[in-house]
């Protein structure tokens, strides 16, 4: 017995011993990085990425705390804490746990999903305008979801319909932009056209149905966190739990895909396959987020832009984009709730008011990195 267990552990021992006695070769990391290495495994951590992530996370936590505390029925931070852990007074607990927390979680998830999808599409197209909202994916998802809400002969739930719509819009845009070429204005213009068509379809659907159905579908047309359904949030949570790690797996290839095609392929990126993977992931994340919050796709433009302005240009800032997107979404919804209280401004309108000028600024400012 004793011998057996000893034997069983021997390999581990010898591996550990080897790791200790192996010549401690000090591999100098590139400037601005930390290198973590065990045996043959080596990881590089960019210091700046770490700081940016920590900073955005901290900002997100502070804003989230404010989100839980502020509104009709203002709470102190300690009261929020006690309500969160379930030891506060019943009203505060109800306010935080039943009303604000689910909405906060929805804001995190949709913000992160929109922003990561935006970052993926921008990298794929090598164009900062090529976010899912601008190339019509949001509108496609919305049109199909609205069709399902107003009961247009389908039994599919809004998330599934949104997915079908997003995929349809993306497929048509890619088809019109003649296949694999996702570069340049042809792609963007095709996307804008498709987005306009789907936007018109949404309006047409709303005009055709009784006013009550149209009212039920209204949140879909502006984008709000007020009308979220529990099922859609769960689906989005699942999508994020799978999709965000997948995005990180693709990050190395994405970094290489910022170079011209010949060079990216020279780095060993199987371009055609990667493009389909990146596009599919962006479409799914967008669709699931639209199913929760409607078309708040402006976050897909603002989130990655903030992330990129803070990060170095060595890689594609996916984590920073997710955090920045969540931050923008929480902040925008908080402003929407507080600004004209007790009237609530839909988050889609807040992001549009901020995002419109932002878009103009991107277009008009002296270009530092022409995309």
């Amino acid at each position: 017995m004793n011998m057996e267990s000893l034997e069983r552990f021997t390999p581990w021992r010898s591996i550990l011993a080897e790791a200790r006695t192996a010549p401690a070769e000090d591999v100098l990391p590139p400037l601005g990085h930390w290198r973590l290495a065990v045996g043959d495994i080596s990881l590089l951590v960019e210091r700046r990425a770490l700081w940016v992530g920590a900073l955005l996370l901290l900002a997100l936590l502070v804003v989230s705390l404010a989100y839980l505390a502020l509104g009709t029925g203002r709470l102190t931070p300690p009261a929020v804490w006690w309500a969160l852990v379930g030891h506060g007074d019943p009203v505060a607990t109800f306010l935080v746990q039943e009303l604000r927390l689910p909405r906060l979680v929805a804001a995190w998830l949709t913000g992160a999903a929109f922003a990561v999808a935006g970052c993926l599409m921008q990298t794929l197209a090598r164009n900062r305008l090529a976010t899912p909202s601008i190339i019509g994916i949001d509108n496609g998802a919305t049109a199909f979801a609205v069709a399902s809400v107003v009961g247009l002969g389908t039994s599919l739930a809004p998330p599934a319909m949104a997915l079908v719509g997003a995929a349809t819009a993306a497929a048509i845009t890619f088809g019109l932009a003649s296949g694999g070429d996702t570069r340049g204005y042809r792609f963007i213009v095709a996307g804008i056209g498709i987005g306009a068509v789907f936007g018109a379809v949404t309006q047409l659907l709303l005009a055709q149905v009784p006013i009550d159905s149209a009212n039920a579908a209204y949140p879909w047309t502006v984008g709000t966190l007020n009308a979220r359904s529990g099922g859609a949030i769960l689906t989005l949570a699942g999508g994020c739990a799978v999709g965000l790690p997948l995005a990180l797996v693709l990050a190395r290839s994405l970094g290489n895909m910022r170079f011209s095609d010949a060079i990216a392929q020279g780095f060993g990126v199987p371009l055609r396959r990667r493009r389909i993977q990146v596009l599919s992931l962006a479409v799914v994340l967008t669709a699931l987020a639209v199913a929760v919050a409607g078309p708040v796709g402006m976050v897909g433009l603002i989130g990655p832009e903030i992330a990129r302005s803070l990060s170095s240009s060595r890689g594609v800032p996916l984590i920073a984009s997710a955090l920045a997107g969540a931050l923008v979404m929480v902040l925008a919804d908080l402003v929407g709730r507080l600004l004209l209280a007790p009237i609530e401004l839909p988050v889609g309108i807040v992001t549009a008011i901020v995002g419109g000028p932002w878009l103009l600024w991107i277009l008009l400012r002296p270009s530092r990195n022409p995309a």
Binding site: E25, V27, L28, P29, P30, L31, H33, R35, A37, D40, I41, S42, L43, L44, V249, R252, N256, R258, F259, S260, D261, A262, I263, Q265, G266, F267, G268, V269, P270, L271, S312, S313, R314, R368, N369, P370
Partner: protein
């Protein structure tokens, strides 16, 4: 047990046909890059030199025939394995903004890296060697945008050197450079060949091709019209055929390489 023979990294094209959107550019082309040598591909504008290079690097799928690497059709090699064996520097290489020289050269290690192998001692060594081979150690932390054309070109070449591929294809690496910087790049290329790499360079300039290449491939209208050591294949007739230019051929007293003088346009 017999160890498998080390790959010879012999790159060949056989009956190669390359087309661009319906237009055939190269037809029935056969070529073998002599291992460990510098091959220059020359010819007039639009003769298909760059297309051939892209075809050899697997960027264009052939319409017929095949490009073979040690006898295997390159279309059937995984992209990553290809990237470990062959590096291409295209004519218009675009990098993301804001990278430093070191960042760019480190990207050359991508085919050798993975999620659990992000920075090995091999990577460090390869990057350091590439920077020093290109004479860029002092500029490693400078942003690419702040460099002169020659320095930037050397940075790109350093990136392909760091890739440590036995095969290296360069498309007009000297076209934007002044004389001094051209020499710098050519000397670097020759040094790499003496260390055993097989190199193919597309060149505009026949004189440099004669001076630096071990092997010359002359192309016209998508076909090879002459190939061999420059001293053997470059003749007054060939120059006339390639460029429509009459000349007198002499031999460089210093190197023995063919030298063209008294150039006149034939009409």
């Amino acid at each position: 047990m017999n160890a498998p023979a080390p790959p010879a990294n012999l790159l060949q094209a056989s009956e190669l046909r390359l087309a661009h959107g319906g237009t055939t550019i190269i037809e029935n082309l056969a070529l073998t890059l002599p291992p460990g040598r510098v091959t220059a591909i020359v010819g007039p504008n639009g003769c298909g030199k760059s297309t051939l290079l892209a075809g050899l690097a697997r960027l264009h799928a052939p319409g017929g025939g095949a490009v073979l690497l040690d006898g295997t059709d390159v279309q059937r090699l995984p992209t990553r394995e290809m990237a470990r064996r062959l590096a291409l520097l295209p004519q218009e290489a675009g990098a993301p903004e804001g990278l430093t020289v070191g960042d760019l050269v480190r990207f050359g290690r991508q085919p050798h890296q993975g999620w659990l192998r992000q920075w090995s001692s091999d990577d460090r060594r390869a990057v350091d060697e590439a920077l020093s081979a290109a004479g860029l150690e002092a500029l490693a932390e400078r942003p690419l945008e702040s460099l002169s054309g020659g320095q930037r070109q050397r940075a790109w070449i350093a990136m392909t050197i760091a890739q440590q591929t036995p095969l290296l294809l360069l498309d007009e690496p000297t076209s934007a450079l002044d004389l001094g910087h051209q020499l710098e790049v050519f000397e670097l290329v020759c040094r790499l060949a003496t260390r055993g790499r097989t190199i193919a360079v597309v060149l505009h300039d026949l004189a440099s091709a004669c001076r630096y290449a071990d092997y010359l491939v002359a192309m016209r209208d998508g076909a090879i019209i002459a190939q061999g050591p420059p001293a053997e294949v470059v003749t007054e007739t060939l120059v006339a055929e390639l460029y429509g230019v009459a000349c007198t051929l002499i031999h460089d007293p210093a190197s023995g390489a063919p030298l063209l003088t008294d150039l006149r346009r034939l009409s």
